[in-house]
Amino acid sequence: MQISCQTLWLPKHGSSDEEYEDAYFPTDVENTDKRLFRCAVADGATETSFSGLWAQLLTKAYVYNDIDLNLLADTWKQQTTKADQPWYVEEKRASGAFAALVGLTLRASKDKRENSGTWEATAVGDSCLFQVRKKDLITCYPLDKWQQFNSSPQLLSSNTHNNSAELKAQLIETYEEEWRSGDVFYLMSDAIACWFLRRQSESDDAIEVISKTTTKESLTTLVDEERRHKDEEGRVWMRNDDVTLMRIKVTA
């Protein structure tokens, strides 16, 4: 199968690029022949510290098919422990970093004449996967309605005491489906995923808008506009948060 993968991202308005706490892996891939392709997006929670690092560790572990939360938590601890930190940095670090994760694995068909293959996804929290075939949104995972998003999801923590058995089970569960040549997948962090579902359900043009969003400039224009755009209840269409948009095109 031929894979193209492109990621566009923006920090929260008012934050610098260094303060961006989403993560994605791998970096861009263009028209490359693969038998297996794995990619992931993670979203570090605003209210926890060192969550960008935790999000990076999770995405790489997914792509390398090696998610061991205890080992990842040890790595996170080693990289964040410093002597003589102020009391508040120590306290905050002790409660752990938190992040949502969505990962996608695409597999080529064993029969090279086939025009399709299989895919599977893993998701914990509110980062989402969308599968688009021609102009139709055919899969949304794990959330499929914009009303399901809120500011307090269950997320993977670097303090392993915070990860319930139910949460760990979500890491093992996979959603499996088929891809066909020409399908496009999107992995999105929560703010843009919520906007995408709402815009699609209310204006039916989110797929068209997002398919034209192919540069950092066009993403900036879209996000700036939607962060200002308010509904009749005074809610903005896109919450001010880090934005990550990964696009994966697959052809047989």
Partner: protein, 280 residues
Amino acid sequence: MPYRAEISRTNPSLILLTIDQSGSMEDPFGEGPTGRSKADSLADAINRLLQNLVIKCTKSEGIRDYYHVGVIGYGEKGVGPAFIGSLAGKDVVSISEIGNNPARVENRMKKIDDGAGGILEQVVKFPVWFDPVAKGGTPLCAALQRAKTIVYNWLTKHPGCYPPIIINISDGEATDGDILPIAEELKDMSSEDGNALLFNLHLSSSKHPAVEFPENTAELPDNFAKLLFSASSTLPDSMWTMVQAEGFIASEHPRGFVFNADMVSVVRFLDIGTRPSNLR
């Protein structure tokens, strides 16, 4: 709809604490350990509240100034800034100044779950900004008047902010008049995002069980509690949702009022971005 403004470093909000330092605070506190006064409980409540607010605003690189905080004491010396240590004399300071300038940091023991069904004792840092004070009368009306001035000045400079939150911690026994008219004036002040919110934490010598975020006065034991309840704002919808999510049994229109309980939960209701529901 009000109470939707984003709280950020470019659009910070104000939290103003007014704290009772009068002689009546020397009386014993509720059902707590023998020898603990209301003033001891107040000092703990305020230190814990500030500690939690600092931690909430802490990121990898340090503290982000999502909030500015003022603490006004009222008691023997009248009404004035109540910080001690290097912040003494300051009305309103940024949350990073507070985090970096406790008067001292004590080591205290905390019981934690060992993950195997047992309890461990762990040493934790406990920053202290206030020590117990209990002298003189209770000029609560004057304190609320001072709060009005501070809130007015803040709103002039930050007209689009999330509305200021005023948390009054008191035994409710004002010695300088009726607090209700001034409380109403305070709650009538507004930013473009809504009216200022006045919450009350009532510390009492009564052994009546704790009450948190009630809708009416039915469960309250005395007139002081009922008075402070009447002076308290109804929680905005967004906070009401959090009150329910945090497991408080809250009615449809709970007030920002707690009786002999902890106001630290209010810090959890402040929305500065994604807060994982499994963050302890």
